[in-house]
Symmetry: C2
Subunit: 389 residues, 2 copies
C-alpha cells in the first residue's frame, strides 16, 4: 500500500497538515538575508506562548535528543549531582546523557506505566542537598504516562535550588506546562510530535534562572552551546544554518495553533482525544497500561491479554495502513501504543477506533460490537454539549 | 519581489531541484518502520561513491557545524595536539571548535584568498611530532579558495600518524576528493550546498583508520557520538529521529547525480561553471580574489576596486532578485561572492553574467559591452567542443 493512504498514529513522527506541507515547499533563501530575518522574527514572539515561556524559545537544528543533550551540557559541570526520574525509555535516555557527561546521577526508577510520586522526588532531593538539577519527562512516550510536572516543579522550588529540567518531546504543542508559574527552568521538545512538523528542529525554552546558570557553566560545548543561540533569535538570527524548510513550516504551524484559539484550546482537543480513546478501549475490553490520572494526553498504551500486540499492529497496517507503535525494551511485544497528537482530531479517533473493532473481531477478541465507537462518540458528545467545551 | 522569482546564487543555501522538492513533500512515516529502513538502505550504498568513501557515510540531523564538531569530539581527547589550517571563516570555526574542546591547537594562518602550501603543513607537522590530527577546509566558502587537499593528505600520511580531517561543506557534491587513494580519514559536509537539499542534514564519511581512532577516543559525547551511528546505516537505522523529509529528498538527489553520469560528471560541470564565471569576470575587468590554481569550483569571490561590492549586491537583488553573498569578517563590504553549485547549470551562469553586465553599467564600471557574456560562452563552447567533454 502506498504511503499516501497510511493513517499514521504513532507517537511521532506525526502527520503533517497540508498547509504546513505547502509552506515548507518553498524555494530556499539565504539564511543571513532579510527574508530569513523576517521569518524568524515572525516566529519568535508566537512560539513563546506555546511554551508559556518568559524568554524567547531557542531553535536548534537537530533531533529531539540534541535538545535533551543541550539541557545537560549547558547547565551542569562534570561531577555535579543531579536527580533523574526514569519511568521509561526517554527518562532512561536523559539519565544516559547525564552519565555520559560525568554527572553523579541519582536515579529514581519508576515502574513503567506509572507516574512518579512528588513525595519520592522530594525524599531523594532532601537526601542529596547538593543536587544541581532535576531531570523529568513530561509525557513518557514509551509508556503513555504523563508525570505531574507542575506539582513536582513547585515542590522542588520550595525545598531546593536545583533547576527543574523537563523533556517535553511528546507533549509540547499538545499539552501545556506553565513554566513561569510553576518554576520550570528548561523545557525542550522536537518538531515531529505535537508540533506538527517533520523531524529536524529542536526547541529549548528557559527561565531567567536557567539562563544565569548557563552563562556560568564552564563545560566545553559548541554546536549545542545555548549561549550562541540566546539573544539572537529576537534579531532573526541563528548561529548556524537552520533547517529552513522546517522554519517555513513552523510559521504555518503557529498560525494553525492561533486559529484554533491558542495553545490552551489545542491542549483541550488533546484531552478530548485521550478521553475518547480511553473510553473506547475500556468498552472494548482492552486493558490500559496507565491509570486515568497518570495518562498522557498525546499517547495511549494498551496491554492486551487475549491476543498478541504485534499481531494487531500487523493486521491494522496491512489491511488499513493504520500505523501504530509497539512497545520498547521489556514492553516490546507486550503493548501497543496509539499516538493522538498534532494534526489529529476527534474524527481521526473515531476512525481508528472503528478500524480497531474490525481487527479485534479478526483476532477473536470478545467485545460487544460497536461498543468502542459508541463510547468514543459519547465522550465526544459529552465534552461538546452546550455549556461545556 | 516574491521569493519565487529569486535567483539564489549564494554559496549555500542553494536552489532545490523541483523533483527533490516533490520527493520531500511526502507524508511522514515512522522512523523505526519498514519504509524508513528501505529508504535508508536505498540511500546508503549510493551515498558512498559521492564521497569516494570506503565505509558507509553516516547521516546526522544538524547543520554542517554539527558535523565539524563530531569530527573533533570523536577523534581527539583533551590536551591532544592538532594542526588547523585557517584561511577563512570556516577554517577559523574548526580552530574554535578545537579550542573549545581543550586541544593544543597549532594554527596555520593563511592570507584570506590564498591556499595553504603543502610545505607549510609539512613544516608545522614536523615541528610538532605529537600531532593527532590535521584539520583542513576543502572549499573555504568565505573566500572561494580550494586547498590542495589530496596533496596535503598524501604528504601528511607520508610523514606522520595524524588523521587527515576535512571540512567538505561547500565542496562535496560539486567537487570530489578521493578519500581512499589519498588517505583522507574524515570528510564531512552539510546538505544545503552542492548536495542540492535544504539545510538540516550533515554527512560524515570516515576511513577504517578513523573508525579505529573513534572507538578508542574517551571524550564524553552523546548526540554527536559517531559510534551510535556507525554500523546502523547499513541496517537502515539512525540512532535518533532523522530529518525524514530531507532523507526523502536525498534519495532523489542521488538519482539526479547518477542520471548525470555519477559524481565525476557532476564535478566536471562545476569546473566548467567556475571557468565560465572566471573568464567572464576577467573580460568584465572584475578583479578575482583568488588565482586560477587556488580557485574553488563552487564559489567565486570578486574584489571590486571601482565600485562598492554591497551596492552591486543591492542592485542585483532589487532589480533581478539575483541573490549574491557579501564578504565575511575583514572582507565584509570588500568582496562579493557568487555560488555556482548544486542545482546550477551553465545556463544559470550565462544568466547571472548577463545580469551583472547590466548592473555594472548602472554602477558606471568600465568594460566592453557584452564582453563577459562572450567570454562565458567561449569557455562553454571550448569545453563542449567535439572530442572534449
Amino acid at each position: 500500500m502506498k504511503r499516501e493512504w497510511d493513517l499514521l498514529h504513532t507517537p511521532g513522527p506525526t502527520p503533517i497538515p497540508p498547509s504546513v506541507e505547502r509552506a515548507m515547499n518553498q524555494p530556499m533563501i539565504g539564511h543571513r538575508g532579510e527574508k530569513c530575518k523576517e521569518l524568524i522574527q515572525s516566529i519568535a514572539p508566537r512560539l513563546k506562548p506555546v511554551f508559556k515561556a518568559e524568554r524567547d524559545v531557542l531553535i536548534l537544528t537537530g533531533s529531539g535528543t540534541s535538545a535533551l543533550e543541550s539541557a545537560v551540557v549547558n547547565t551542569t559541570n562534570p561531577g555535579d549531582e543531579v536527580v533523574v526520574v526514569v519511568a521509561g525509555s526517554f527518562g532512561d535516555r536523559f539519565a544516559k546523557i547525564c552519565e555520559t557527561y560525568e554527572l553523579v546521577v541519582h536515579r529514581i526508577d519508576v515502574e513503567w506505566g506509572k507516574a512518579v510520586d512528588v513525595a519520592e522526588v522530594e525524599d531523594v532531593l532532601r537526601a542529596n542537598g547538593e543536587t544541581k538539577a532535576v531531570f523529568l519527562t513530561h509525557s513518557e512516550t514509551s509508556t503513555g504516562v504523563m508525570h505531574p510536572i507542575e506539582a513536582i516543579a513547585a515542590r522542588v522550588n520550595e525545598i531546593s535550588e536545583a533547576l527543574v529540567i523537563v523533556d517535553g518531546v511528546s507533549s509540547i504543542g499538545g499539552a501545556t506546562l506553565d513554566m513561569k508559574r510553576f518554576g520550570i527552568d528548561l523545557l525542550v521538545t522536537g518538531s515531529q510530535k505535537a508540533m506538527m512538523l517533520p523531524p529536524g528542529l529542536a526547541f529549548v525554552a528557559m527561565s531567567n534562572r536557567a539562563w544565569e546558570r548557563i552563562q556560568t557553566t564552564s563545560r566545553p560545548r559548541f554546536y549545542l552551546d545555548l549561549r550562541s543561540y540566546e539573544g539572537r533569535i529576537g534579531d532573526g538570527q541563528t548561529p548556524f544554518t537552520p533547517a529552513l524548510s522546517l522554519l517555513f513550516g513552523l510559521e504555518e504551524v503557529l498560525t494553525l495553533i492561533e486559529e484554533e484559539g491558542g495553545i490552551d484550546s489545542v491542549a483541550e482537543r488533546h484531552q478530548l482525544m485521550q478521553k475518547m480513546t480511553r473510553e473506547a478501549c475500556r468498552a472494548l475490553q482492552l486493558p490500559l497500561l496507565t491509570s486515568d490520572e497518570e495518562a498522557s494526553t498525546t499517547v495511549t498504551s494498551i496491554h492486551p491479554q487475549t491476543f498478541e500486540a504485534e499481531q494487531l499492529r500487523k493486521l491494522a497496517r496491512e489491511e488499513f495502513g493504520l500505523i501504530l507503535a509497539g512497545g520498547q525494551k521489556h514492553l516490546k511485544g507486550e503493548i501497543f501504543r496509539i499516538g493522538h497528537m498534532g494534526y489529529t482530531r476527534p474524527a481521526n479517533v473515531l476512525q481508528y477506533i472503528s478500524i480497531l473493532e474490525i481487527i479485534l473481531k479478526r483476532l477473536g477478541h470478545t467485545f460487544e460490537p460497536g461498543a468502542g465507537t459508541a463510547a468514543a462518540q459519547e465522550a465526544y458528545l459529552d465534552a461538546t454539549r452546550e455549556g461545556k467545551a
